[in-house]
Subunit: 130 residues, 2 copies
């Protein structure tokens, strides 16, 4: 997933500097969602292998943490304070994971970019106390 | 951190059923914050050892993921839909981590429960687009 990380970081770095941090992260996640959606079957087979193996699941967690740290660093480079950058990046990865986990088990369901948007809206509702 | 997980899960399970999920998670985090604040020096020494070692950092990530899953399961048992439960739990763990990382490097700074509240408020501001 090196290419996924590059895509996320480069998309994030390219968003307008005055975009709110979470919107900027959401743009990057949407780009990743389009890529994975195109790779559909491959992404699903890969995930089935990972899910069946404890060590691979742990590797995946570590990769996602590295992805969050890369996003946080990109936000800090845009002038976002460190704590806000970390929270935004981790929230973004959580949004992505929940959407991905829904998508990966339901090939006939909604597209991944759509699920990412829905997941983001759910997080916003949760933090607004709804 | 078995006892920390028990404390979090039991506090979460004991909050009022009609509390919004993130508020319920925040109560549990506050309880964990009080415990760790009491253990102050021990918690800081433990973290210094973990931070200096790649494998221990990875173990810690896996523990935090297990903690998030335990919180999500507790929320599901309270009737919270699966996706919302996962998002709330992961957001809560992100809030906790950011607060903990600030606290652990600054013994003379604010108390951990206070930092957790501030971190939660930052997340709310981030997701509200501020």
């Amino acid at each position: 997933s090196g290419s996924l990380q590059d895509l996320l970081v480069n998309t994030l770095a390219a968003t307008q500097d005055d975009a709110p941090p979470l919107d900027a992260v959401a743009s990057a996640l949407a780009a990743a969602g389009v890529l994975l959606q195109e790779r559909g079957d491959f992404a699903r087979r890969r995930q089935a292998i990972i899910s069946a193996n404890v060590e691979l699941r742990e590797r995946e967690l570590i990769k996602l943490a590295a992805l969050a740290e890369a996003l946080a660093e990109t936000l800090r480079n845009r002038g976002v304070p460190a704590a806000v950058a970390s929270l935004t990046a981790e929230a973004g990865i959580a949004v992505f994971r929940v959407a991905f986990e829904t998508w990966v088990v339901d090939p006939t369901g909604r597209d991944l970019p759509r699920l990412i948007t829905e997941s983001l809206d759910q997080l916003k509702a949760v933090t607004a106390g709804n």
